[in-house]
Structure formats: structure tokens, C-alpha cells
Amino acid sequence: MTKTENNRAWFLVLPVLLLVAMNAILPLMTVVNYSLQESFIAGFWDWVGTRHYQDVLASERFHAALIRQFAFTFIILIIEVPLGVAVALAMPKKGAWASLCLVLMALPLLIPWNVVGAIWNIFALPEIGLLGWGLNALGFDYNYTNQPISAWITVILMDVWHWTSLVVLLAYAGLQSIDEAYYRAAKIDGASRWAVFRYIQLPKMKTVLIIAFLLRFIDSFMIYTEPFVLTGGGPGNATTFLSIDLVKAAVGEFNLGIAAAMSIIYFLMTLLVCWLFFTLMTKDKEGQA
């Protein structure tokens, strides 16, 4: 069969190309532009090559934010993924209770992010917040506005509260897709509860868990709104994650070149991790076929 060459067909993709160019490629290229030049006075541009990148990569401030970012992402992932799976396993499989649980689970996901930050800000206030006041009443010295440890605990608790539901919903969907015959067969084979989890539920949930893991990784890696509202990145720089640091540089200090270079580095890191996951996922699918 020979294909008819008709290059006019390319015009049909033009609208999409334009759209993507306008809202993705152009802004990105602007950032690249900023990152390679120095602008002291509006209208005057100086080509500086990769100097901003070198500065950023060498700066201790960036290193500190990056380490905090990885620590935060790591901690919430090792809490949220297993917790989400555990909650999904404990949820009823059908009936009115299942629907109720699903609605309750979906609630945190429906709250605007800055509201989540505001809720926890008030909830955790040592003087009037239920959590903050309660912890202090129980004898814990807790104040997230001036203790880095308290601030970290609060930010992590907030993220776990906000996002574990996502993992729960995905894991629950994975569990629902398992045919009843698997459980019956496992019973007949004399499998323990653990064996059922290890050999039936976990393998069947694997794909959705990889997706959950990926989503939580990306989302937590660009977390901004909730900690910004809750702690503003403080006390000091204790909860200044990459995005907060970036906004400080760009808007707070008007250091556009540095901020642009940070953006690009940050973007490339996320891209790299996504690519890694994507490769792992597709490789596994080929292995199964």
C-alpha cells in the first residue's frame, strides 16, 4: 500500500501547535531568555551565558532549599503511599458505607490549596488553634511559628491530611478491579492475609501505585501555596522549599536572571524524574506481555 503524500494535512495541526506555542513554549523560552541575560535597568540586557546557572548551582541557599525539598518529598511519600494503601484496604468494598467513605476521602482534595494552608495555620496556632493549644496543654512545647521542628511536623501533617486521599482513591480503584475469584482461589490455596496482599492485591495495584507515586512526587516537588500560607517558608528558612525560594528570588529580590535559571534547573529535575518513572513503567509492561 502506498501512502499519498499530502503535506497540506500539516495545516490541520496548526491550531494546536499555536496554542501550545502560546501557552507553553513561548513562556518557557522567555524564561530561558531571562536566565541567560542580566537586566539591571528595564530595556538594558547583558548576555551572561551560563553564569546564572553556575551561580545558582554553586549557591548554598539553593543547596539548602533543594535538600529541604528532597527531605520533604521523601518524608511525605513514605508516609502517604503506605498509609493510603492501608486506608484503601480497610475501606468497605461496597454498599452505603463505601460511598460515604469515598465522599469523606474526596473532601480534602476539593478544598482550595490556600484554604488548606489557612485551615492548618489557625488549627495549629498555639494560643487558639485546637491542635496547637491541645499539644501545649498536653505538655508538649509546640509552636510552629518559631520552632523549625514544629513547623516541619505541621507542614508534613498538613500535606498528609491533604493528599493521602489521592493515594487512597487510586489504590481503592485498583483493589476494586480485582475479581472475587482471586480471593476465593487464595482461600482455597490456604493463603494467609499477608500472602493475599503480597501476591494478589499488591501486584494488581502496582500500576495505580506507580501513578500515585509519580503524582505525589511531582505535586510535592512544586509545593508552594500551603506552606506559604502556613509558615511563609519560616521560621527563618526552615520550610523554604524550592518554589518558595524561587518566588523569593524572583518577586522578593527581583533577581530575574537567577530566578529564571532556578526555574529551568528545577524544571529539568522534574522532567528527569518523570522520564525515569515513565521508562520504568513502560519497561515493566513490555516485560509482562
Binding site: D179, A181, Y182, R184, A185, K187, I188, D189, G190, A191, S192, A195, Y199, I200, P203, K204, Q288, A289
Partner: protein, 355 residues
């Protein structure tokens, strides 16, 4: 391996006020140790209900289930020592074929060398030696079904192996192969096997004894030959055979059955209860088209290669006849019935004809 006694079993899913509330009407059967039984019937006939009662997923609302004389009525499946092959293949995806087969033994704390020897034997029996160390998830549906079966067979003491329409997702050309392999395995190992299906070919080729079910009732238990030659109920006649048995409503008059204005001589006197609806059942194989007998109007002839199926009517009732290859359909055919193929029914149940 065990003898299965279904002691006056009956089951209703809700409260049972009348006979029609029962999904499974009362039955009493003893299935012998090492037998191959098929539960055959259309969807909704109660065969799956009966299988679930045997496997322990369902507790019958009436009666008891005994394995080798031991009451297991209230035991769950895992305590009954049965194995089951489901409609869709169930394998543990992350394990290899050998690990799949070892799993039931490992869970029961069997010693490693014993497991290895047993698994090796079953893998060889199933013809999966080449795949032993492959991941189960990578195999085809028929191989996966073999693994499901193998997980039952590795347990030497398994009381019975139950099959719930196990060939549903298997390619047609592999169905034959798998079925005959199943038969061989049954002969060799002698497990008690119960096989649920709605496919008559599957039931007749697999089982020594076929249990035909219809509307929650066991209508006949017999060998494939019994079902063919002496269907106990008109449903068995319809359901088994292709095309099914011809049923002609008649009036009985001693040794003669009257159909419209015509008379058919019976092999003997048949007496039905008063007011019963009576009928003759004759399989197409026993209808002879020739010069004698009842006027037969041809409607359609299907040539299926080895034989011809002639569809027609006798006194307005649809009747099918099978002609051997090469035989021509007479121009003004008349139909007669071979004596050994005539069954008499009263209210759909077969009655004996006194010679």
C-alpha cells in the same frame, strides 16, 4: 478424594413459601469417590448454586453436604479441602509457574523436598515443563487454566476438584485438547471431579455421569447414552442432541398414540395419569422418511455435510429428521418412527411403556 453426599439439599435465596421460591429444589444424590460429574443446564438453572453449595461458598437452606460421610455443611471452602478452577484463569502474576503450583503446599507447611517432587510431577503431567520457570502472567489463557487446575492437583489429599465453566475463555481449537487432557488426568489421578457447564459437548465428553438441571431441579442423572436414548424429561430431549428431540402432542389410546387424524403404533401400552398432557418424544435420528407413515411436509433442508437435516411438519407440528448422506428427500414423504426411539411423556416426564 471423597464421596460426596447431597443429603436432601435445597436452597432458597429468600424466604421460601412455595416450590417456585427455591433456586435449587430438593434433591438427594450420592456421588461416588473418583467419579467425573458434569452439571449441565442453561443459565439460571441452579447449577452454579449447587456448585457453590458443594464448594462451601453457600450454605444450603435445607439438607446436609457430606464428604466421605463427614458433615461439611457449615464449613467454609478452605476447610473443605476442595480445589476449584474458575471461569477466568486465576494465577498469581508475580510468581513463576512452578511457584504457583507450590503455593498451596507452601501455605500448608509441607516440607520443601516433598513440594519440589510433587510440583515437578504435576508440571510434567500438565505438559508445562518448558514453562516451569516462566512468569505465570506471560502465559496464554489455556496454560493459565492448567495452572489453576494444577494448584488443585498438587494437593494429594484434595477431596474434589470443582470446575466452573473453565473453558469459557479458551480458544475453540484448544478446548478439545484441554478437555481430553482433563479426561486423561482424571483417569490417572482418580480425583472426584464436578464440572459445571452449559455446553452439552463439554459435559458429554468429560463426564461419566451427567446431571441435567432445569429451573432449579435435577431432571435427569445418567450416562451420556441414557440422556440420548431415554431422556427422562422433555427438556433433556431438547437440550441434548442437535437438533433436539421432536415433541409431538398426542392422545394416548392403549398401544396407539393419536396425532390429529393419524395414529402411531407404540411399542407397548402407555398409561398416563388422568388429565396429564401427553406427548411423544422422538429424536431426529429415529425419524424415517419414506413411503409409509404420517404425511410429512418439508419446510427446509440443511445439508451439514455428513448428513442432511430435514425440517418439516407433521399435522402442523414442527418435526426434524436426519437423513444419511446420499439419501434423497422423497417427493411426497411420509414419516415413521423407529420403535426403539419412541419415548412417551406425561406432563413432560417420561413414562414407561409396558411391552
Amino acid at each position: 478424594m471423597a464421596e460426596i453426599t447431597l443429603d436432601h439439599i435445597g436452597h432458597a435465596y429468600g424466604p421460601a413459601k412455595s416450590r417456585s421460591d427455591y433456586a435449587l429444589k430438593e434433591l438427594h444424590h450420592v456421588w461416588s469417590d473418583g467419579g467425573a460429574y458434569a452439571l449441565l443446564g442453561p443459565s439460571g438453572c441452579g447449577k452454579t448454586t449447587l456448585l457453590n453449595i458443594i464448594s462451601g461458598l453457600l450454605t444450603p437452606s435445607e439438607g446436609r453436604v457430606l464428604f466421605d460421610g463427614q458433615d461439611v455443611t457449615h464449613l467454609p471452602p478452605e476447610a473443605r479441602n476442595i480445589a476449584q478452577v474458575f471461569q477466568f484463569p486465576v494465577v498469581y502474576d508475580t510468581m513463576t509457574v512452578a511457584e504457583n503450583l507450590a503455593f498451596p503446599l507452601k501455605n500448608r507447611g509441607v516440607a520443601r523436598p516433598v513440594i519440589a517432587a510433587r510440583v515437578e510431577r504435576i508440571i510434567a503431567m500438565l505438559g508445562l515443563t518448558a514453562e516451569a520457570n516462566k512468569r505465570a502472567a506471560s502465559l496464554t489463557a489455556d496454560m493459565k487454566q492448567k495452572i489453576s487446575l494444577g494448584r488443585g492437583m498438587v494437593r494429594e489429599d484434595v477431596a474434589a476438584i470443582l470446575f466452573d465453566e473453565p473453558l469459557t475463555v479458551i480458544d475453540p481449537h484448544l478446548k478439545w485438547q484441554l478437555r481430553s487432557q482433563l479426561k486423561t488426568l482424571h483417569r490417572e489421578f482418580g480425583h472426584t471431579m464436578v464440572y459445571v457447564t452449559h455446553d452439552q459437548t463439554e459435559a458429554l465428553t468429560f463426564a461419566d455421569t451427567v446431571v441435567v438441571m432445569y429451573e432449579g431441579e435435577v431432571v435427569q442423572v445418567g450416562t451420556p447414552q441414557d440422556l440420548f436414548e431415554r431422556p427422562a424429561h422433555t427438556f433433556v430431549g431438547y437440550f441434548i442432541g442437535s437438533p433436539g428431540m421432536n415433541v409431538l402432542p398426542v392422545a394416548l389410546d392403549g398401544a396407539v398414540a393419536r396425532l390429529g387424524g393419524e395414529a402411531v403404533a407404540l411399542p407397548g401400552r402407555a398409561v398416563a395419569a388422568k388429565g396429564a398432557v401427553t406427548a411423544l418424544g422422538v429424536r431426529p435420528e429415529f425419524v424415517v422418511l419414506g413411503d409409509d407413515g404420517l404425511p410429512f411436509t418439508v419446510v427446509r433442508v440443511d445439508d451439514i455435510g455428513r448428513e442432511k437435516i430435514v425440517h418439516g411438519t407433521i399435522a402442523g407440528v414442527a418435526v426434524a429428521a436426519i437423513l444419511p448422506e446420499g439419501a434423497a428427500v422423497p417427493a411426497m414423504p411420509r414419516a415413521s418412527f423407529r420403535a426403539e426411539g419412541i419415548n412417551v411423556y406425561a406432563d413432560d416426564w417420561r413414562i414407561e411403556v409396558a411391552a
